[in-house]
């Protein structure tokens, strides 16, 4: 293959660099600002450090403010996202596997209902869900956020596609002839063969729950149950009266973004392989 002319390469590189600046500068600003105190946040130039940066001290302030409420929010987020994503992955795997591998009456109808679920706007559902849960006495509990997080129509969709392509019928037949029960076949064979799809479903559901704002906002009124996002917006709400909260919001935002950045790097790889395998393997 011939190498493209230098002129093309220079144009390509400059366009990509400009785009990278657009996407990275806000993150850079956040990093720099997390090292500043309140006065410097307003008083110094935003794209450069103040004369006395103190990232560790400021982040400790964030973590200890109000009896460590930030740490609690962080733990809540981890709990909602971790538990929710594990349950969602297992439920999706079982349903997707059955929809792909067991011919039963009404199968296509069920699958179409799931597809419709993928297309329903999440926030159009959140309000009705709140009315329903509050009628059931579930609002303002961990369950209110956790239960809806365990349902991933997209996960079922992906698992069905993947199981159909990656779990051979002959293998299932062989296991049945050997006398294995359906649950064992699913646990021992199905789940193992579906692993790449399951990783994708888990990571996406994790990020989705972690990023969700509307559902916890309508469901929760007790700040001890808040996930991070909700906690941080409650801080910005008080920042007018307590300006130090601006600094804590910036520091808290920085802390909350770091683990996701790490996850994103991992996610990107899995997600791309998941997607391309899904479309190539058929």
């Amino acid at each position: 293959m011939t190498r493209p002319p230098v002129r093309y390469r220079i144009i390509t590189a400059s366009l990509l660099t400009i785009a990278a600046l657009y996407f990275l500068v806000p993150v850079y600003w956040l990093t720099v600002s997390a090292t500043k105190n309140s006065a410097d946040l307003f008083g110094t130039f935003g794209f450069w450090f103040s004369d006395h940066p103190d990232p560790v001290g400021h982040l400790v302030d964030v973590l200890t403010y109000d009896h460590g409420i930030y740490a609690r929010w962080f733990a809540n987020s981890l709990f909602y996202a971790g538990t929710g994503a594990v349950c969602a992955t297992l439920l999706s795997a079982a349903a997707g596997y059955a929809l792909a591998k067991f011919p039963f009456r009404g199968r296509e109808a069920l699958f179409n209902v799931v597809l419709a679920g993928v297309l329903i706007p999440g926030t159009a559902l959140a309000l009705p869900l709140y009315f329903l849960f509050s009628a059931m006495g579930l609002s303002n509990t961990y369950w209110a956020v956790l239960i809806p997080s365990t349902v991933s129509p997209f996960g079922v969709y992906l698992c069905r596609i993947y199981a159909a392509a990656a779990v051979p019928d002959s293998l299932l037949e062989a296991a049945r002839i050997d006398g294995a029960g359906e649950a064992r076949i699913f646990g021992g064979l199905g789940l193992r063969l579906m692993t790449p799809a399951l990783v994708t479903v888990f990571l996406f559901q994790f990020v989705h729950i972690w990023n969700n704002y509307f559902l916890p906002l309508v469901m929760l009124s007790d700040s001890g149950l808040y996930p991070i996002q909700l906690g941080l917006t409650s801080w910005t709400g008080y920042a007018d009266r307590q300006p130090v909260l601006y600094q804590y919001t910036v520091g808290g935002a920085f802390l909350s973004v770091v683990p996701l950045m790490v996850l994103m790097t991992v996610l990107q790889r899995y997600w791309r392989t998941g997607l391309t395998e899904g479309s190539v393997k058929a």
Partner: protein
């Protein structure tokens, strides 16, 4: 925001669809019964929760939207409350509420500008990254995708600081060259929100498109190049038509996402007086439920919102679907 759950593209090829429906051959009715029992056990947990979290709320909202609360106390405050059937009155009220309709108009204008911009940007970046002349592809890909990992609320807080005078280095830089930037005025705030959404989701859409580009066999490009097509012609006549399904999907999911616009204006509200409680339909429904204490009206508005989202996405699918079919 849950745009992320929704925006998962997965092209289904006819070949794969056929294979799926074939399934194991049925040998005896005993096996069939065993199959059905096993299938039910696998499918039931998901569908029970799906019914609780998707079907029941929709039913409940439909039901609630048809009722209204009648208060018998003086001035309609306090006293006894009871639910009375109201027919479509809540819908009529929502549809004649200027602020609700203005909110709809606002998000439609927002989408009409932001979605094409974002998709064009995502396509351009995907093509640039996939072109042979790109260097340091993994770095750029990660850099573009990074904002997707920043929750909408954090992104809005972040950009909020970059918009608000006093903190924003952008306003400061513009001011030093005599340019009086105001990101939060009545006329500009909608586009400042559009910028936040674009910043967050361009990289995600770009990855969707790259995944589809990668699925195209390389010989196709080779053949085009041997035929003497330059990079631009290959992109215009070969790559863009080939990633059309992915483009359609990103379009549909962007439409759904736009109609749900909530976290961004909600977070910027304390900073921008031009954002009121009816700025977007979702914000309007939220404040109707929690500030106005009128769950019935809010239910009607949520139902209308879901309806418009469905109509627009299916309309869009039909619009572009017809042309895709001609192509075979």
């Amino acid at each position: 925001m849950s745009r992320d759950t929704l925006s998962r593209p997965e092209p289904v090829t006819p070949r794969r669809a056929r294979r799926e429906t074939r399934g194991p051959r049925r040998r005896a009715s005993r096996t069939g019964a065993r199959n059905a029992r096993a299938a039910a056990a696998f499918v039931l947990p998901f569908f029970a929760l799906f019914a609780l979290c998707f079907l029941a709320p929709i039913g409940y909202a439909l039901h609630q939207s048809l009722f209204t609360t009648e208060r018998t106390g003086p001035l309609g405050l306090g006293g006894q409350e009871r639910e009375v059937f109201a027919g479509l009155a809540n819908y009529a009220q929502a549809l004649s509420d200027d602020r609700f309709l203005t909110g709809f108009g606002r998000v439609l204008a927002f989408g009409a500008v932001q979605i094409p911009l974002m998709i064009v940007l995502a396509t351009a970046l995907a093509l640039l990254l996939e072109s042979a002349s790109a260097r340091a592809v993994p770095f750029f890909r990660s850099a573009f995708f990074l904002p997707y990992g920043v929750p909408g609320v954090i992104a809005s807080i972040l950009w909020g600081f970059l918009y608000v005078p006093g903190i924003s280095p952008l306003v400061k830089i513009a001011g030093s060259v005599g340019w009086d930037l105001d990101f939060l005025s009545r006329g500009t705030v909608l586009w400042s929100l559009a910028n936040i959404v674009t910043w967050q989701f361009t990289g995600y859409n770009m990855l969707v498109l790259i995944a589809q580009l990668k699925a195209v066999p390389g010989e196709l490009y080779e053949a085009a190049r041997i035929d003497g097509a330059n990079a631009w012609q290959v992109a215009r006549h070969l790559k863009i038509p080939l990633i059309r399904p992915a483009l359609v999907l990103t379009g549909v999911f962007s439409i759904i996402g736009t109609l749900q616009l909530f976290a961004e204006p909600m977070v910027l509200r304390p900073l921008a007086s031009s954002i009121d409680s009816g700025f977007t339909p979702n914000l309007h429904a939220y404040s109707e439920a929690f500030v106005g204490n009128n769950p019935h009206a809010a239910a009607a508005e949520a139902v209308l919102l879901a309806l418009v989202a469905c109509v627009l996405s299916f309309g869009f699918l039909r619009l572009v679907g017809g042309r895709t079919k001609e192509r075979g």
